[in-house]
């Protein structure tokens, strides 16, 4: 079977969550994408209500933003979070903890913090999400460099095709830290989440792999707004979702792009 004959994957976008510094909700992001206006009182950090108050400030930033956008997507889809299998995609995971681990190991390895260690796993956000919501459904956590979002979307759509009625996709990256920052660059904090369902309300999404092509840099408003974050490759889809229809081409690996068409 050649690539052009490869079947597509479809879903309804039942709910959307979004957070970045300056645009702290999907409503704010959509408003910015359509009208260019920004809220004046945006918080510097997400404050996910899923975590107890004392943990909210201590949680790694990538965990905080993942929980924030995941909950927002579930609320806008009116879906019970515990009922959804989930896919978490992040290019680098929590770089502040990677920097902490490597710096501590170089200086005094026996002082390594056990909490930081268990928070260092790539599936930390998935773990806190399932614990916080009581979700015993499967949770996946993946990385695929610039293809992380597209491969996360594919995995979520495949679960939907397999046996799930609805699936939660969460994508995020945070601020690079320390000497590692030049190796794994990422600026700011960016997260997006989609609740994808087989049936029901919401724009229809159709995705298929196409041969990779050289794309001009994404030029739509959200793509420009957070272009230096490692999860920026997801932004063309959110620009399309803000308009309500259109086509996004997302990097999906060595040979492929993911062509995603959104119709009302």
């Amino acid at each position: 079977m050649s690539i052009s004959q490869a079947p597509g994957l479809t879903a309804h976008v039942a709910g959307i969550g979004f957070w970045t510094r300056g645009l702290p909700s999907w409503a704010a992001a959509r408003e910015y994408a359509l009208n260019g206006t920004q809220p004046t009182d945006a918080p510097a950090r997400p404050s996910p209500q899923l975590l107890p108050a004392n943990e909210r400030r201590r949680a790694p930033e990538t965990v905080a933003i993942a929980l924030e956008v995941a909950m927002a997507a579930c609320e806008s889809a009116a879906r019970e979070p515990a009922s959804l299998p989930s896919v978490f995609a992040s290019t680098h995971g929590e770089l502040a903890i990677t920097d902490y681990m490597c710096a501590t190991l170089a200086a005094d390895p026996r002082t390594l913090s056990p909490t930081k260690f268990h928070n260092s796993v790539h599936n930390a956000a998935a773990g806190y999400w399932t614990i916080g919501t009581g979700a015993m459904q499967p949770a996946n956590a993946i990385s695929a460099y610039t293809a992380s979002f597209a491969q996360g979307l594919i995995e979520a759509l495949m679960q939907l095709r397999d046996d799930a009625d609805a699936v939660l996709l969460v994508a995020y990256d945070g601020q690079a830290f320390g000497p590692l920052a030049r190796m794994a660059p990422s600026e700011g904090l960016l997260g997006g989440a989609l609740v994808l369902s087989r049936e029901g309300a919401g724009p229809r999404l159709h995705a298929r792999l196409v041969p990779a092509s050289t794309q001009p840099p994404a030029n739509a408003p959200l793509s420009r707004f957070a272009s230096a974050n490692a999860m920026a490759p997801m932004l063309p889809l959110f620009d399309v979702l803000a308009r309500g229809e259109g086509t996004a081409i997302l990097p999906a690996g060595a040979a492929h792009d993911l062509l995603v068409e959104v119709t009302p």
């Binding site: 690539i3 399932t130 979700a135 499967p138 992380s148 030049r182």
Partner: protein, 397 residues
């Protein structure tokens, strides 16, 4: 689910390179664990007093020049593992049959090449990575997936799954979905994890590391032994007339309980096992061997044993093989699936190594002695931090 043919399968661990070394060690009761002799960076603080499953010879593995940008201990182990049991030939045959872009790479790891990042931090120059360490594609979780793709010429979807110690079991589930959805015709799955400061001192900080070789399910067990390993399996849609090993079912779940402690009633583990049996369309009584997660921590083993006892009849032969390899973290799924496939193929069901005193909290399914028996189905359990669980069912065509 539609069965998937396993065209090739390999595992390299502390007991040696390839499946035959693993089968032989299981048969001989020869452990790969040794007293901790790992790492220079530990020298200043003193090495941890523990036993490890270290793979010999990784320091002298030389990658081809084209792969040097991805050079790391983890990717060297991937390279070593890819060279065993006809894996390269099987990959080339799959590429020839389907085209490189119709083959996927889905591999699991918990720490990927972080050992290289740790080393870079011990030799910073003016606060920056020295030139020899400044290779960006090594210092990120997808280092493993990208390396395997580069090393094999596969150009289909390429994903690194990082759900801690369930990673290289979950790759089978994701590959099954991808082949079923028609996005790939074959998938190279597997996983690689290597010893590094992060896991040695990290598990030590959680007080989960034993000072003696681990003793899974022993009444006096007191922690795990860390190991490193790598392995791969090549999956394809099964066709009429196939003979050989198959993936028949998978089950995934979350504990929804704690980041680093299992659910006290093993609910997540039970869900994963039940779901795997349901996808395979078989009864629990049809399973002949179950490779347990069995880390040898006090909490894990009794909880897993109770979950097993709640689902399976007394006749099940279940064991943990971590006494041979140590806990190989993100590689545990592929290594222990390989053990389950050896049991299925050869009728050699391993017992446990280092374990002598049964824990009264564990049921009759938990076996210390090896056994010979022809079996129809074998299973593997892999559970990870974050309460992330996966069970797999294997059968024969």
């Amino acid at each position: 689910m539609a069965p998937l043919a396993i065209r090739a399968c390999t595992a390299t661990s502390a007991v040696g390179p390839g499946r035959e070394a693993l089968a032989q060690a299981l048969r001989d009761g020869r452990s790969g664990l040794r007293r901790n002799d790992f790492g220079d960076q530990a020298a200043s603080a003193g090495r941890l007093d523990c036993w490890i499953g270290r793979v010999d010879g990784l320091e002298s593995v030389e990658l081809p020049t084209s792969l040097m940008p991805w050079d790391s201990r983890n990717n060297r182990l991937a390279w070593l593992a890819l060279g065993q049991d006809g894996m390269r030939e099987a990959i080339e045959a799959a590429i020839a049959r389907h085209g490189a872009e119709r083959v996927a790479v889905i591999v699991g790891t918990s720490t990927s090449s972080i050992g290289s990042t740790e080393t870079a931090y011990t030799a910073l120059e003016d606060g920056e990575f020295a030139d020899e360490f400044a290779r960006p594609h090594v210092h990120t979780p997808h280092s493993l997936g990208e390396f395997v793709q580069q090393a094999t010429g596969i150009s289909g979807p390429c994903i690194t799954v990082a759900t801690a110690c369930s990673s290289s079991a979950k790759v089978f589930a994701q590959a099954a979905r991808m082949i079923a959805a028609g996005l790939a015709d074959a998938a190279l799955v597997g996983g690689v994890d290597t010893l590094c400061g992060s896991v040695l001192f990290g598990f030590n900080s959680l007080q989960l590391v034993a000072s003696e070789p681990c003793r899974p399910f022993d009444a006096a067990r007191n922690g795990l032994s860390l190991g490193e390993a790598g392995g791969f399996a090549l999956l394809e849609r099964a066709t009429d007339g196939d003979t050989g090993l198959q993936l028949r079912g998978y089950g995934e779940s979350s504990d929804a309980h704690h980041m680093s402690s299992p659910h006290p009633e093993g609910l997540g583990a039970r869900l994963a096992m039940r779901d795997a049996l349901a996808r395979a369309g078989i009864d629990a009584a049809e399973v002949g061997y179950l490779n347990l997660h069995g880390t040898a921590t006090p909490a894990n083993d009794s909880i897993e044993a109770a979950a097993v006892a709640s689902l399976f009849p007394d006749a099940l032969h279940a064991s943990s093989t971590k006494g041979w390899t140590g806990h190989t973290l993100g590689a545990a799924g592929i290594v222990e699936s390989t053990v389950a496939l050896i049991a299925l193929e050869r009728g050699e069901l391993p017992g446990m190594l280092g374990s002598f005193t049964p824990d009264p909290a564990c049921g009759p399914q938990i076996r210390f002695a090896s056994q010979r028996a022809d079996i129809r189905y074998a299973m593997n359990n892999s559970f990870g931090f974050g309460g992330n669980n996966c069970s797999l069912v294997f059968g024969r065509a």
